[in-house]
Amino acid sequence: MADSLNRFWQELQFYWGDISYLTVQHLQIVAVSGVLAIAIALPLGVWMSRPANQRYAMASMQVLNVGQAIPKLALLALAMSLIGVGSGAAIIGLFVATLLPVAVNTCEGLRAVPQHLVEAAEAMGMTPRETLWKVEIPNALNVIFAGIRTALAINVGTAPLAFLVGGGGLGELIFTGIDLNDFGMMLAGAVATALLAIAVDLGCGVIQHIAVSRGLRMAGRQ
């Protein structure tokens, strides 16, 4: 046991150069697709939640929900068939996968804000925009963050597959390791990927803790 751990540690050091390079590549793909997806999904979610857009929202939601069911590998493969091998396909595939939970949760979170709060805001003389930013979004933030966290978890979790469509990243270690039956390589890739995923999730948790009002946190605990 100690022997194999020792061996593992040595192999890890052996692959360190690869690991750091691939990690950077991995993070780039995650960052680009993730940030892009969140930047588009948040406004989309807000748009879908407005009462005026009710009908289109329902249709959009159906499409998004269907999209979420599609296996991520298939998404990447479809992206690859469209624009060819490379990190572009990976980014597009990951973008779509990340988009859906954020948009859905943003919309649901905003819709779930108690109606009487919105009425009170209107009655006090807030414009619709002021109501959105001062009342609706802060009160929906917990659900919105849950969506972002889920989406990023999906993103980071699917990112290893980027290797399969030529996008590089830590998946290289895992899948090449599987092909070559090289446990060291496999583990190096697996551990790095897992740690990265956990780190991203924890990071989101911290940001959520800072961003969400203390009052809501207390209310949630009751």
């Binding site: 009710q54 929202a57 329902m58 939601m61 159906q62 929900n65 269907v66 979420q68 069911a69 599609i70 296996p71 991520k72 590998l73 298939a74 998404l75 493969a77 479809l78 690859m80 068939s81 939970p101 949760n105 649901e108 819709r111 659900v143 849950a146 969506g147 889920t150 978890a153 980071v156 979790g157 699917t158 990112a159 290893p160 597959l161 399969l164 469509v165 998946g171 270690l173 895992i174 899948f175 390791g177 599987i178 446990f183 496999m186 583990l187 890739g189 697996a190 551990v191 990927t193 897992a194 995923a197 956990i198 999730d201």
Partner: protein, 229 residues
């Protein structure tokens, strides 16, 4: 298109792969329901254990499936089941835990306390209460968890093709390896269709199992709210 012709011509192969695919998903989800619902029910009475179990399952969920395979193979190779169906089913089983456990325990914990008190007041034992009152009310949300787990599993089973578990992922792998767009697309499209179909079918089942009085839980999107904590 070429791909459609490919699908038509290779119907036999595709059906075989589909069968393999659905089989491992079915086994994994089936087992997961047994363990997940039991655990979910058990921890719903103990808030502290509940938090730990949910946190553990959530961490498990965070681990990318490729990474989980990467971790399991060296370990399972020691007992000769490094690649193939076994590690695939195990991985799928593990990934199905969180949605099912979380939805089960949330559904039971969120049951109107008045309902629980009425049941106890009527003299039901814990077992009877769970069976006759709480579980029936919790079933819709549990089904939502099963649905989520199934869809996730269909996706991960595709990746499992890489460790020799068979299934529709094989088409995608071969398509990439041989630069054959037809196989690639055939695999991607069939698996997408299956996943969407399973999602809808299970949603229908979920609606069917929802006691009529509970349908107000439906949101404007037409779907039951899925638990996202």
């Amino acid at each position: 298109m070429e791909t459609l012709r490919f699908i038509q011509e290779n119907g036999g192969l595709i059906s075989l792969l589909l069968g393999q695919h659905l089989l491992i998903v079915a086994i994994a989800v089936g087992l997961a329901i047994l363990t997940g619902v039991s655990v979910g029910v058990a921890i719903s009475q103990h808030p502290r254990t509940r938090r730990w179990v949910l946190a553990f399952a959530a961490v498990l969920m965070t681990i990318p499936s490729a990474a989980l395979f990467g971790l399991m193979i060296p370990v399972l190779s020691q007992i000769g089941y490094g690649i193939g169906v076994v590690p695939a089913v195990i991985a799928l089983f593990l990934y199905a835990q969180l949605p099912i456990i979380r939805n089960t325990t949330t559904a039971i914990s969120n049951i109107d306390p008045a309902l629980r008190e009425a049941a106890i007041g009527m003299g039901m034992s814990t077992g009877q209460r769970l069976r006759k009152v709480e579980l029936p009310v919790a079933v819709p949300l549990i089904m939502a968890g099963v649905r989520m787990a199934t869809v996730i599993n269909i996706g991960i089973a595709a990746i499992a093709a890489y460790i020799g578990a068979g299934g529709l992922g094989s088409l995608i792998i071969r398509g990439i390896a041989q630069s054959d767009t037809r196989q690639l697309l055939a695999g991607a499209i069939v698996i997408s269709v299956i996943a969407i179909a399973a999602d809808y079918a299970l949603y229908g089942l979920q609606r069917l199992l929802t006691p009529n009085g509970l349908n107000k839980n439906k949101l404007a999107t037409g779907r039951m709210k899925e638990v996202t904590t």
